[in-house]
Amino acid sequence: MKRNHLYRFLLVVLLGFSGPLFAEGDDAKIVLTFEKGDSINTCKALVTSNDTPVKEIEVKLYVQRMFSLLPVGDAVATDEEGISSFEFPNDIPADLDGKLTVFAKVEDDENLGNLEAKGQIDWGAPRVSNDIMERSLSGSRSNAPWILTIVSNIIILGIWGTLVYVVTQLFKIKKLSRHLAKK
């Protein structure tokens, strides 16, 4: 058993050193930049290998959603300068400050394998909800729809009023008996 552990340890050490060695020869990466235009926002992904731009590589753009990544448009191939340009839509729902996490990915490329870069930008459409402030079913307690408040209160008061009336009748029964006793 002990020898077995030793082999495993050696294997891990070997792999640990070999990783950077292999990568050194092919240092490919994506640099993601955002350019704000007058009407159109552009997202640019520069693909380089050993600091040299790589052309005709398909890059895909995604934004982070709650459970997975949402593709933004189709894949765009890099140009002569190694850049893929994406027109970024301005209607992607985001949180209150409009921040989106954007991913640029090269997937299963023959030479470069898988590459990924991510960046944050406030180009999302902030999802502002006034539900709690407005009179609605999803509103707060004090902002219930008028119709619901009025109708429910009428019903509750009507029924409980009747119950109170019936209970007062009980005391009337008692009063009648005392009245007779005095006689």
């Binding site: 509103g139 619901l148 119950l163 019936v166 009980l170 029964i173 009648l176 008996s177």
Partner: protein, 458 residues
């Protein structure tokens, strides 16, 4: 008694024939007058089961619920909630067996009405207990009142349950007043406090024409009011499910489906209660084979109505078999829960719809056996409505421990459920040991039917 006649005002009301009344009174007061050995053993047994339930609840609340209860992220509602639905359904017994029969002038309701009302009160109270047992943070119960939103069906449920408890208790109490006077005047060898209680609770009842008039009018108001209330309480219970975003509860049929199921359970529960009370208190003269015959017919009617709503509830989505509905329905029809599902269909709907069609099956014993089967099936029916669908959420279940995928109640949960049943029977038993379980005056009044007379007794 005659020297105490106080009905001196000019009135059309007459004094009831005392001889007949005295026999009836003795028979109906017997369970209150004397509690036998077995009666005490029964009460002791029920108290013991209740204590076990209280201890189980103590364990549940003091240790982690993750350890004591089998509820998980997916099946977040378990037997407590299905038990709650069962008890709410059972509480509609008061609506059907007392109010509806009374208002539609079915005279045979008379000896049944108080039995039905006391079961209704006990059942709705235990429904409330079941909800508290299911609560993750029972210490925050009062938040529902402080911060509850009227938009939420949970708040509607709390409102309607409290209103129904209040109405049912008053409706149980008001017709009891003349009986309390009877207890006060005719029971003997009872502790002083008990006699004082009768005197205090009988509200100075002397049976004058004026008092009768007020009493009858109050009963009538409540009887009319309790019907829409009862229907509301179970409809709101159905809406708790139907307004939740779950495929299996996504139904416009749910309110009517629940109410019809409650009426079926109500009749079955009534048959069992009548049989047990009749045998244990020797009340064969009042709870007669005629009552079983009528209840058997009612059972058939309610079964067919319930079958109709079940066809709507299951066959229409099954015809379409769409998406998540299909998961749930196939689970019930042919999958994991199919044995339970088809057993419930057979015992809970087919048996009560067909068997009591034959006269011999409407005799007390066979009908009670059928009713017991229906009550058990009705409990499992609520289990099938609440639980299996929870394993098919909209977001698929992924990478979770196996215990999250399946639910089977823990010992703690089952002990608490058993205790709620014991508590319900204990309430009914204790009530019948302190107050006449059959309304003396209502039965007597029935015997004078058509004579425009009313009983005046003390």
């Amino acid at each position: 008694m005659s020297e105490h006649k106080i009905n001196t005002e000019p009135t059309t009301y007459e004094t009831f024939t005392q001889e007949e009344y005295m026999v009836m009174k003795d028979e109906l007061l017997r369970p209150v007058q004397h509690i036998g050995k077995w009666g005490k053993v029964w009460i002791g047994f029920l108290v013991a089961v209740c204590m076990c339930g209280i201890y189980a609840y103590y364990i549940q609340e003091t240790k982690s619920k993750y350890v004591t209860v089998a509820l998980r992220d997916y099946t977040m509602w378990g037997v407590y909630i299905s038990n709650f639905v069962f008890f709410v359904a059972l509480s509609l017994i008061g609506v059907l067996m007392s109010a509806v029969l009374k208002l539609t002038n079915f005279e045979w309701y008379r000896p049944l009405s108080r039995i039905a009302e006391v079961i209704a009160v006990a059942a709705i109270m235990l429904a409330g207990v079941s909800i508290v047992a299911a609560m993750g943070r029972p210490d925050r119960l009062h938040f529902l009142f402080l911060h509850g939103r009227i938009q939420s069906p949970i708040v509607w449920d709390i409102i309607v349950i409290m209103t129904y408890i209040a109405t049912s208790m008053i409706l149980l109490f008001i017709p009891l007043i003349p009986s309390l006077s009877t207890c006060k005047n005719h029971l003997h060898n009872k502790p002083k406090w008990q006699m004082k209680m009768y005197a205090w609770m009988s509200f100075g009842w002397e049976g004058t024409a004026e008092q009768w008039k007020i009493l009858k009018r109050s009963i009538r108001i409540l009887t009319i009011m309790v019907i829409p209330l009862g229907v509301s309480i179970h409809t709101v219970t159905a809406w708790l499910f139907a307004t939740t975003l779950r495929a299996e509860w996504d139904s416009t049929n749910f309110g009517a489906y629940f109410v019809s199921g409650a009426f079926l359970l109500g009749v079955a529960g009534m048959i069992v209660a009548v049989f047990v009370i009749r045998k244990s208190y020797n009340l064969e003269n009042y709870l007669t084979p005629m009552h079983f015959d009528k209840l058997g017919r009612a059972l058939v009617l309610m079964s067919f109505i319930y079958i109709y709503f079940n066809i709507n509830e299951y066959l229409v989505p099954a015809y379409k078999m769409s998406g998540l509905h299909a998961n749930h329905l196939l689970d019930l029809f042919t999958g994991e829960d199919s044995t339970l599902y088809w057993s419930v269909v057979f015992f809970g709907m087919f048996v009560p719809a067909i068997f009591p069609l034959f006269k011999p099956m409407r005799k007390p014993l066979p009908l009670t056996i059928i009713a017991v089967v229906v009550v058990i099936a009705a409990w499992f029916k609520r289990y099938l409505i609440v639980i299996p669908g929870l394993s098919h959420p909209y977001l698929p279940i992924q990478d979770v421990p196996d215990s999250w995928r399946h639910y089977s109640p823990s010992l703690v949960e089952m002990t608490i459920v058993a205790a709620t049943f014991a508590a319900m029977m204990l309430i009914v038993t204790l009530f019948s040991r302190f107050f006449p379980i059959i309304s003396v005056w209502e039965v007597a009044e029935g015997k004078l039917e058509g004579k425009d007379e009313i009983i005046n007794y003390k």
